[in-house]
Symmetry: D2
Subunit: 362 residues, 4 copies
């Protein structure tokens, strides 16, 4: 139904093709009377934007946001916040050769099969340029969540075979360390290795994937629905809806599969409040937050656009060869960090607001 809408109470409906007039969205259900710092939103957009460093695509979009409604004198009105970002650096002619060809591991073929028509310019609606709207809505969600002291961060935790050290602790990651390097990994040694690997891959005209880790500090206890809309199920769906994502796990995840119950169970202790001595549950039990840190991993495949010759077919079914001419990212992770943050913030805020309907207020 709501193919282009995310969320139940705090809802983003996004629009826009990569090389159309504009990309943007409408945020519905944002609480009123919240003072918004739109420069912080612009800053998050800048963290997502192409051309920001030597390891991202050279497509240059300044991605200047325009707010069309919902804010008066810097405060939210409780009415829909519409926003748009005009597409400026469109070079449709770069993509003319793609009109009749299906790019391997892209959605050209499936879009055409589904709709019988597609905007071939820069991937049209399938382009990750759509995530710009998510970053705006997520950035605003982060500001709303600040009112109840919830803090969300994300960082690159793996690129190809290079991972953070296995004993790396997630309970207090420094945002400044994350932003101190172009790959957005908070561990200096590891980040340098990651950057080197991405440069090597870029040189080869190839691409590489990895994982981003997301963390939520200070989640209120008791948010999340216990059956179908478990908090981690909604987080998982949010992450899997990001372009190029192939997997999601939280807490002990896939990595804990060889351990036994007695090793993974988190004992409760009373430390002036009920806490757990370990956190293999990842802050969520039975789909409901227990107040510990929520942490999860998101697996991104190597981006499909590469500079190397590939076999494919045309719309008519003829065999052909293809090498990307458009600009592309060798590794999507550094730019995807604010997107993971955004989807996390929207999911958490949505569940915080939803949880306010559990009991009737007197």
């Amino acid at each position: 139904m709501s193919a282009n809408t995310f969320g139940k109470i705090y809802r983003l409906t996004s629009f826009g093709e990569s090389h159309g007039v504009a990309v943007g969205g409408i945020i519905d259900g944002c609480p009123p009377n919240v003072s918004l710092d739109l420069e912080l939103v612009q800053k998050d957009l800048d963290r997502r934007r192409p051309g920001q460093s030597s390891i991202t695509t050279s497509r240059k979009e300044y991605d200047k946001i325009e707010i069309l409604s919902g804010i008066l004198n810097g405060k939210t009105l409780g009415t829909p916040i519409a926003f748009s970002v005009r597409n400026k650096d469109a070079k449709p002619q770069d993509y003319e050769n793609l009109k009749e060809v299906y790019r391997p591991s892209h959605a050209d073929y499936t879009y055409e099969a589904k709709y019988g028509i597609r905007d071939h310019r820069g991937g049209g609606r399938q382009s990750a340029r759509e995530t710009l709207a998510r970053v705006v809505a997520g950035s605003i969600a982060k500001q709303v969540l600040q009112q109840i002291d919830v803090k969300i961060i994300a960082f690159t935790s793996q690129v190809g075979h290079i991972s953070l050290p296995s004993d790396y602790h997630y309970d207090s990651v420094d945002q400044d360390l994350i932003e101190s390097n172009i790959v957005r990994c908070p561990h200096a040694d590891t980040s340098q290795k990651m950057i080197d690997l991405i440069k090597e891959v870029k040189e080869a005209g190839d691409s590489i994937g990895g994982t981003i880790t997301g963390i939520v500090y200070n989640t209120p206890i008791g948010i999340g629905s216990p059956v179908f809309d478990k908090l981690h199920a909604d987080l998982g769906k949010a992450m899997l809806s990001i372009n190029a994502v192939k997997g999601f796990d939280y807490g002990s995840g896939f990595q804990g599969l060889s351990s036994r119950g007695s090793e993974l169970n988190d004992s409760f202790v009373n430390e002036g409040g009920i806490r757990t001595t370990s956190n293999n549950s990842g802050g969520i039990q039975g789909g409901i937050s227990n107040g510990e840190e929520i942490y999860f991993r998101v697996a991104f495949k190597p981006v499909a656009t590469i500079g190397i010759d590939q076999k494919t077919v045309t719309k008519k079914g003829d065999q052909t060869n293809l090498a990307a001419k458009g600009r592309h990212d060798p590794c999507v992770l550094p730019r995807a960090v604010p997107i993971v943050e955004a989807m996390t913030a929207m999911t958490i805020l949505d569940h915080v607001l939803l949880s306010q309907t559990t009991r009737i207020s007197q």
Copy 2:
């Protein structure tokens, strides 16, 4: 909102506490005029039921389904199909000692935090007994999908550190092989090792997790929504909503992270229809099915209930020790196989029906 409802067009709303009067649900949006074989539904329930083999819990529930509406003379009416299964083997006194204690890595504490009240008998609503309703709705969905030749299977692919051989091929798994052994793994050698491990763990009063793999054969091309409701995002959410699930990946998933784009991209070929030469995309590109097999992994943690002493706290916050007295499964995977099938079937059917709204019929 729809905390206990799954799906958009084909919708299951489930109800029931583990030791209440009954567990069941209402299926809305089932196509009319479909002949249903209710014995097949009962058979799927039997595959999920406790006490079915030497490696599952000894709680005995015959789980006899009663249909209350929506079917006339063996055919669906297009009206809601309500069904219930009475709880017969309830031994509430077994759980009396749990009234005041929060079991580690269960949802006792979070339920109480959320609702201020909980049914402590056998976990109440948090019990995986709720999944019985999913198996019914999924089993019916499988029968509806048969009309368009879609086939869904699932099997145990990993228990603890024991996995299927890495070169195991998923393109034509034999359902009979899966059901030929009590762990539901289609590879004879591996299944025996898995069973041995589970027995060892059971002996120790402990528990062990693993992965279930799900496969969809013959998915129609073009189902799935391309932005927030990507087909794999909805599959992921469906799986993550199952009790004890900690992770989900599809196609190349987490395992392909060290490969490069040039290795993972799936080339298109025309073989009397557009196909791909490999299937790292897992049958889904840009959130839309491309007609290749859909395959994915679901990670289950070891069940939290173990026979070993654990530290925890009471409702009042006092420290205490706990060893499970209730019956429990050392490994949930064999019984979870029909649940994974069920959630897959509901998700696929829902998207098939949704995709029928894309164009207007003349």
Copy 3:
């Protein structure tokens, strides 16, 4: 989508055919820890049940409710409340002659056109027996609303050409007066005239319609969404979803159309709180409650089942004649009063809970 689900937060999903096994539903989103008096629910069912007086159908259904889940020791758990009522007085053979005939102004023809199949026994799913589920869910909603002192009543205000006096005041109607007579009209003279008319119509084998008025006292200020989900729009939809309803208006409604703005505008005054001097707005301004009484009218057509010969066609398209042999009501209004109350209660409770998401709680 949610064809058989009503509401967003407080949600009823109903099921059941008139002469199937049972009729019932699942209530999701009911606040936890509310003490429910199930005898009050049964009492509301009794107000709806057939055979209750000389002016209703003689079909006898005791409509004994069974609760299947969601309540423990008389208190709601916050989990789904499932309930069912078995169909006992089913006489399918009474309806055998209707298998091949479309009853005029019933939904036999449209059901068959939509689904290609229908349960002809007593109208199957189209029967107003479905409203039994609404009465249960509404009765529980009324008990939840009592916690915030909201009170809902409904009564018969017009039967055929006989109406309440035009100067009748709605600001404090006595529930006992309503229930003191079988037509459920709080004005003694008028109720007698209504009863006489219904008896006359019954004698003739015919049927008659009228209006029911609904009132909500003490609605919290500020509930209702201001654009598409205006409070009166949701109330209107709720009423129009009841069988046989043909119209809805609120406040000055259709009756105020010949007055001018200067006559209908409600002036604000400060009387230890902002109030209006008149209430032509019907307690709702811009879709949001202003704290004054909400009042509205619901128009019911004469029921389509009559004892008089009518022309119609068979499934095969042959012309035929039909006179009802089944039992029927000459006037549906007395039994519809608790249904109007129920739909009102569900709508108001849903909006009360929804309004708790407007701001973020700190």
Copy 4:
């Protein structure tokens, strides 16, 4: 939830305050590959726009639509269609005096109660300027519906006490006649009387209401959901969501209440297809279309803004007097005709698309 979203499959999310930057919306779920004539959309906007005749407000907005996405070379892509209309004639200073005052029978007070903040400029979000987005989405829906030959019209049928003749036939109303006069009534004599009355009311600085009748010709048989989402219930909600609407009825409606079942029942006949000899059902039986004309009435109150002195209170609760200085319509009906058409078109298209999910396509 979806406070600013209308529809399930064909969905409009609207945004914008009356004197903010822009008003507009996003249409999701529009079928792909439909050739759109955007001049027809602009024409419908012109029928809604202020200042179009001597009996509407003199506020001049050219309301030039800009399409931001979803259309390529004149064809829909199946992706979201975003559009906006910039607010040009904003005179915020006209409304400075309303910052602290609650206008009688407007939503100033209720907005402030709900959100704790409001945009006082021209009513902000409560302004009927929001309906501009509805007209765009409805106009596009009409073009999509043309593909299956559905035709929708609306006209003014009553102004104050002046109505169309009671024997006026609705089965083939001429759209040109409707547009031939400024009040949009298809009956020449009546339209002149209506215009005279509106001019008289305008002269007096007062306002007047009335009814608009909507008609759908050639609705496919079998659309509409039979229980909560009855076709007429969704039409009713759609109409009641329009500013100033106080009532809705369809078919025999409120006007048939004094007739008996034997008079109102519609006999079936076979005339090369099953038809009814009369149409008191208004084209809908049991919530499902039967192929006959759908017709309904929408009651609009006199607009609340008048030029006559009224008593009210300020935000601080002080008593004050108010006479409108802003421009206003003496009668909203002529401009509301395209809005009624729009909401009808969206509702019908939504149900047409939804009905395509009833059966599974092979």
